[in-house]
């Protein structure tokens, strides 16, 4: 069960906005890199986000580059889950591989700053601020197992191989 605040973003937030290429030289210095999370979408994000908060986005979140540093800096900023109407393919896989949940739901019902309570096992999202309850879309079984194990490397350590 996670509880935190919603940080609302619009449609089409690209990986270039999540972690711009001009910070490529910091990719081997993750604590420094993470200071720039979401910088070109909301420069104040890092100073305002608290551990346990959520990113709540529109359609096609994370489009663009394959850079795993995009979900990585979001996770390092303390975000516990990303809620979006839809998410780009590579970003989705990368987030799950890092153990960061991505939940597909109707984010129009959530406002910026709302308090949310998310129960991954029950599959429910409660917007405490406005009382709205939401479900979220199913993800493939193999991704659920990777997520449950805490990411792809933890999954491999447990199972020793990719298992369908």
């Amino acid at each position: 069960m996670f509880k935190g605040r919603a940080f609302k973003f619009g449609d089409g937030i690209s990986t270039d906005q999540i972690i711009p290429g001009r910070f490529a030289h910091l990719r081997s210095n993750l604590p420094e890199l993470a200071k720039h999370a979401m910088e070109d979408a909301d420069p104040s994000f890092v100073s305002r986000v608290k551990p346990g908060d959520f990113i709540v986005a529109g359609a096609n979140f994370g489009l663009g580059s394959s850079r795993e540093h995009a979900p990585l800096v979001i996770k390092m900023a303390g975000v516990k889950a990303i809620l979006a109407k839809s998410v780009a393919r590579i970003f989705f896989r990368n987030a799950i591989n890092l153990g960061l949940p991505v939940l597909i739901c109707d984010t129009d019902k959530i406002n910026d700053g709302d308090e949310l309570e998310i129960d991954l096992e029950a599959g429910s999202i409660l917007d405490i601020t406005n009382g709205v309850k939401l479900g979220f879309g199913k993800i493939p079984e193999i991704m659920l197992r990777i997520l449950d194990d805490g990411g792809l490397l933890a999954y491999l350590e447990k199972h020793g191989d990719l298992k369908l």
């Binding site: 089409g12 690209s14 270039d16 906005q17 711009p20 290429g21 001009r22 490529a24 030289h25 910091l26 990719r27 081997s28 210095n29 070109d40 359609a59 096609n60 489009l63 663009g64 580059s65 394959s66 850079r67 795993e68 540093h69 990585l72 839809s86 780009a88 393919r89 590579i90 896989r93 990368n94 591989n97 890092l98 493939p140 079984e141 193999i142 990411g151 792809l152 490397l153 491999l156 350590e157 191989d161 990719l162 369908l164």
Partner: protein, 417 residues
């Protein structure tokens, strides 16, 4: 029921009868990283206790995004990657060799192969009939070690191409048009599979440009059949043995079919800050441009430089417009020098960068100033893409780029003979 190209390749690679929607574990032929995603791959590879890439695949490291390294942090990343390549016997492509996707096309990609790269434009090799797919650093680390990866077999959109391009219209205009038509998430989780009678006259470099941008519509792969055009390209690369014919079954099932008559297309430009924000070049003529970039894995091949040189021959860049050229590979640059294109471009006032990604992703070699407009033959124009969220990137063909470099504003190349 017949199979799409995606289903065929993933059936072979997984040893099963794969159908759209299935999850398969499939053998990987080539797993590669570049210098901005590779260091994390190496760290994840080592964190998992892996020692060597699987013997069943080729592992490759490309130093192309920050080539040569602009600062000590990226120099240290390069050092980490060189050491890994030498320790593991992986293929190492050095700074100055060129962009990973161009080198993969020139020397590594084969029809029917499964290619996984830690770079979203890995889809480029779909132009040669390879199921080539971008993934993140950890996925590629695991694929390198195990020689396999898991994949959801995508549904396919069939794009049927007929006719021939009119003068001044190129493959880049086609793919920008298609992305504008279906949107930046128009093919998310799906494959774009190209077919139709136009393919018999469509070169492999043109196919690579189209496949390269499949990801800008969200697609997992942009696939072309392997045909006589593919065969003659591979023969030209001295890789006759890598050829096999490959096509979708006539009875394959598609989620959507899109028919495009190439003869009806015109020059297209993507406007800031999304690739699907397209307009005919003629409609935004006159937009002032401070920098033109001709290069990258999308628009830096020999045919792009040939088109640019033809337009710029005997002309000069506009005095308020910088012209930056980044050939896609060493082979492209050598051929462009031999053909005289580089001399023509230099005479026109161009700056020639070493083969590599150049200014495309904003980490060096031509970052933009506040309020500046850039017209580029690359594949992305997201906010902040070229090093500055206060700048604006437009995308177009090499012809539109070259014509605009002369006038200093967005120009329809058909107005420019």
């Amino acid at each position: 029921m017949g199979k799409t190209l995606s289903e065929k390749i993933l059936s072979t690679k997984s040893g099963s009868s794969a159908q759209a929607g299935d999850i398969v574990v499939a053998g990987v032929d080539l797993a590669f990283v570049q210098d901005t995603t590779g260091p994390l791959t190496v760290r994840q590879f080592r964190a998992a206790g892996f020692k060597q890439p699987a013997g069943s695949l080729k592992a490759a490291i490309f130093l192309d995004h920050a080539a040569p390294s602009p600062n000590r942090e990226l120099a240290n990343d390069h050092k980490l990657l060189r050491d890994f390549a030498w320790e593991t016997g992986s293929l190492l492509s050095e700074v100055g060799d060129g962009v990973c996707h161009q080198i993969v096309a020139e020397s590594l990609a084969k029809p029917g192969a499964l290619i996984i790269g830690a770079d979203s434009h890995t889809v480029t090799a779909g132009g040669l009939g390879a199921f080539a797919c971008g993934m993140g650093s950890t996925d590629v680390a695991v694929a390198m070690a195990l020689g396999k990866t898991w994949l959801r077999v995508p549904e396919s959109i069939k794009v049927v191409l007929s006719g021939r391009f009119a003068s001044g219209v190129y493959a880049k205009d086609l793919i920008l048009y298609l992305i504008g038509l279906i949107g930046a998430d128009g093919a998310t989780y799906q494959a774009l599979e190209f077919g139709g009678e136009a393919l018999s006259a469509m070169s492999v470099p043109e196919r690579l440009t189209i496949a390269n941008m499949a990801v800008e519509a969200g697609a997992k792969v942009g696939l072309f059949p392997s045909d006589e055009v593919t065969r003659s390209y591979l023969e030209g690369q001295g890789r006759d043995g890598d050829y096999q014919p490959l096509s979708a079954d006539d009875s394959a099932s598609y989620v959507r079919t899109i028919d495009i008559n190439l003869a009806e297309l015109e020059p297209v430009v993507s406007r800031p800050h999304t690739v699907d924000n397209t307009a005919p070049a003629r409609e935004i003529k006159g937009t002032k441009i401070q920098q033109v970039v001709i290069g990258t894995c999308t628009g830096g091949r020999l045919d792009d430089l040939a088109v640019a040189a033809a337009i710029l021959k005997g002309r000069q860049r506009h005095e308020q417009t910088r012209l930056v050229i980044a050939p896609a590979s060493r082979a492209v640059m050598r051929a462009a020098i031999a053909a005289g294109y580089i001399e023509t471009l230099l005479q026109a006032g161009a700056l020639i960068l070493p083969p590599g990604c150049g200014p495309c992703l904003g980490l060096h070699q031509g970052a933009l100033g506040n309020g500046e407009n850039c017209l580029s033959t690359a594949n992305r124009n997201f906010k902040g893409r070229m090093g500055n969220p206060e700048a604006f990137v437009y995308l177009a063909s090499a012809a539109t780029a070259a014509a605009s470099a002369v006038t200093g504003e967005i120009t329809d190349p058909r107005d420019f003979s």
